[in-house]
Amino acid sequence: MRGSRIKALLFAFLLTIYPLRAYYHYIQYTNRSAPYNPITEKFDLNALPSKTVVFLVSDAGPAQFSPNDTFVSVLNQVRQATLAWNRVETSDLRVAFGGLHTADSKGTTPYGHVVFQDLAPGILGLGGPEAVADPVAGPNGTFVPITRSIVRLNVDMTRRPAPSYLEGFYTTVVHEMGHALGLQHTFTSAAMSTSVTRATSRAFPLDADDIAGISLLYPKPSFAAQTGSISGRVTSDGQGVHLASVVALPAVGSAVSSLTNPDGTYRIDGLTPGVSYWVYVHPLPPTANITSPLDPAGQPVDPSSPIETQFLAADHTGTKDISRSPTVSVAAGKVTAGVDFAVPHRDSVGIYDVTSFSYFGQNGVSPAYLSANGNLATIAVRGNGLTTNDSAPRPVSGLRVQIMGGFGAISARTYGEARTLALDLSIPPFVSTGPHPIVFSTSSDLYVLPAGIRVAQKQPPSISNVSPNSDGSVTIVGSNFSSDTRVFFDSQPAAIQTPFTGNDQTGTVIVIPPPGANGQHATITAFNPDGQNSMFVQPQSPPTYDYGPADAPQVIVSPAAVPAGATAMVDVSSPNMRFADGQVTIGLGSSDVIVNRVWVLSPSRVIGNVTVSGAAAAGAVLLNVLSGFQLAAQPLGFQVLPANSQLPNIYLPVLNATTGQESVYAGAVVSLFGQNLSVAPNSTVILLRDQPVQILYSSATQVNFLVPAGTPTGPAILKLNNGAVDGLPVVLQIDSPPPPSSGDSKKS
């Protein structure tokens, strides 16, 4: 009795000191036995300008391409992938595309590096972080800083997943980039999921599990406040189970997961408040290939032996019957604790690695898509343990298949291929669109495919005609378009000139193609917001658009030199490029010289803020400007000058002094932080759009000023003189003022 109490107290003590979160990050332990102290490999936000990791692409690009594929299309897919990770609002890490990079321009600032290499046959891409060998202490705890992350792609772009205009190339880059940011694989159909369960697309490049993973690694305060958590412990014969995967699964929607610590504890974060989740635990499949946590000597910490896959049971023993499993609700900012499992070990994993397919003609698409307006449907599923292992594979004895979210009985029958079954199912009326889990069970086994099917309102889009118009626009005609259909020319979205009109049978959208390159033949693909695209039904002969001849793109940049440690506006003009909003990147060839933001002022002029690291080496770097598929590159086009200790220097971002946010507007008080901003009391003069502003406070490191009433929205050039020296101009974005709150209305 006394022993039990001591054990209970000891366990409670361990729970209080254990870091319970063990997402699929790269983990190192600082000790060899319990209680373990996991630390993660991640970028040091304090070492990144504006907390932004820039991905630079080696200018030694691929050597071979498929027909109609180009290096610039590859660059744009990398750019699109950075945008996907950058959109995660609950992550404090910003991700940006930095253009081209030369081998001899190494920066000191941590960055992501995309290189093209002569990879061995059978290898199409690799990604992962480079970290220092030893952990360091940071303001938010000990971590292992990533110094550089590498995405290695094949120099031969005739091999899959190329050509670059395919959705699969894009999702591959998103996936490899996730590794580069510090994430490992999961088993939840998310972008970081292993191949057989992944169900992401251009419409859904990241899933809830990816968002939780990156947000947990680089959390904003809002992440914990806006989401809920589930925690518990997985045991077998009273011992904690290490590296079991615990998954929170909604009936319709996206799963989120975590791995158990060596003592079996786990915590799943990033869950949607108000949603009820089933929770299940499963062993890593034999092919899991998770990079095990490392001990202080760099040796893997062993995973436990396989366990039964079980849903949560009321008595915590686990059940294979989901209908007997209670759901778990979460609340914002709260942890629902005590979601424990006591599950038996087993000799091996039975059903695993299941993939679902639907077929459009001869073209198989994974995951399987179903039309919400359909009645009966057949999909295929393939995986280990589903069929008998003979020449006529039949469903294994007692196999039961369920699709969550209102689907009725499902009949599994032979498909005629090894490990593959056909599932005949009826689609329920009023079925929810989106991902639905498939649950496979036998008397002795259980397997869950989190996004086994996606239900969509429409059939996949199809393009029937592409017609260039005299004004440069292009009319796209097809079926199953909607107002949210996006049209891509190779890897770039086209701007909508005339929104969709028509119906599901035939519809039209008129678009402005992205700026094109000389003689480019762009492949056109229509993407619907439900995840389907026109390649589903026309993979062999997608429509193309010919751009015609064009001169080699040229640019003029001013200033073409900025001192180390300084921030300055750069003004880029071009006699023959077309700058399109949202499609321009100014690259300066080094992680130490990055452009924070660009504003397109006209089709031939763009401005941006460039920040040069104080540690940047003086010298020339590669200037490269990308707009759509037009790429201008000047090998020594931009100079980093030696640091100037006298120069007034403004740090970005500029903040709204009232809100602390980056949005500033007419009438707002703005805080500038930096160096040498004032040499004496009241000495600072600031011009905004060449008009003097009212200075409210000034010191060497901070100036507060009032944005004049009536200042128009958009980019405004800010010039500062500290009383002795002119600083380099920077661009300030002036936003629309927020609408007055109801409280303000009452006051007025």
């Binding site: 790269y26 490999e41 590096h113 290189v115 002569d118 061995a120 046959p121 059978g122 290898i123 199409l124 891409g125 690799l126 990604g127 992962g128 972080p129 480079e130 970290a131 220092v132 060998a133 030893d134 110094t147 590498i150 290695r152 091999r159 899959r160 997943p161 395919l166 699969g168 591959t172 996936h175 490899e176 590794h179 490992q184 694989h185 292993t194 191949s195 057989v196 890593l284 499949p285 034999p286 092919t287 899991a288 290939n289 998770i290 990079t291 095990s292 760099g298 893997p300 062993d302 995973p303 436990s304 032996s305 396989p306 070990h345 000799d347 690695d353 993939t355 198989g364 994974s366 995986g383």
Partner: protein, 186 residues
């Protein structure tokens, strides 16, 4: 055998299959015949040691191999094979999906040397078979677990499953010799 020992054995087996390759790669599915055709060397060898070093910007783990049998490639009693990732000069690079070889273990290697001339395993883990049992070559089994890396069909680009391969070493040897002869006859 006690239940404790059984559990330990299970754990060791589990460890052996679950931690062998790391992950994070995108692969192209290669058949056994593809690997035989595309290899520049095919050898049976024992890992005698390893070290990690930078090559340009990238860290590779160099595994030293003692060759006991050779089916393709130049005669050498020993050679090195490079696997991406490792720790060197105070840095650690992790390329998920790269195999971790164990010193003292014996494998069949399907190797490929590119322009650099350095040997790499074909298909990351696809071209690596651990010889798992048997005291003689006749009874030995060559085993390669399936990978869960993203694997694409080279023709269609569709994601496909990898399959584990487990076959008697003698059978693998026969397949290798037959396919090499076919290649030479073309």
């Amino acid at each position: 055998m006690s239940s404790c020992m059984v559990r330990r054995l299970r754990a060791l087996l589990w460890l052996a299959v679950s931690t062998a390759p790391l992950q994070g790669a995108t692969l192209e599915r290669l058949s056994l015949d593809d690997m035989i055709d595309k290899s520049t060397q095919i050898v049976r060898a024992r890992v005698s040691g390893s070290y990690s070093a930078f090559s340009g910007d990238l860290i590779y783990t160099h595994y030293r191999l003692q060759v006991s049998e050779r089916w393709k490639g130049p005669e050498q009693a020993s050679l090195e094979v490079l696997v991406p990732g490792g720790a060197a000069a105070g840095r650690r690079q992790t390329f998920s999906g790269a195999p971790q070889l164990q010193t003292g273990k014996e494998y069949v290697f399907f190797l490929w040397a590119g322009k650099s001339g350095e040997n790499q395993v074909i298909g990351l883990t696809q071209g690596l078979f651990q010889i798992t049992a048997g005291r003689s070559g006749q009874n030995a089994v060559a085993y390669r677990p399936a990978t869960m890396e993203i694997m694409l069909d080279p023709q269609t680009g569709q994601i496909v499953r990898d399959d584990e391969l487990r076959l008697p070493l003698a059978t693998l040897t026969s397949r290798i010799r037959t396919q090499i002869r076919r290649g030479e006859a073309k």
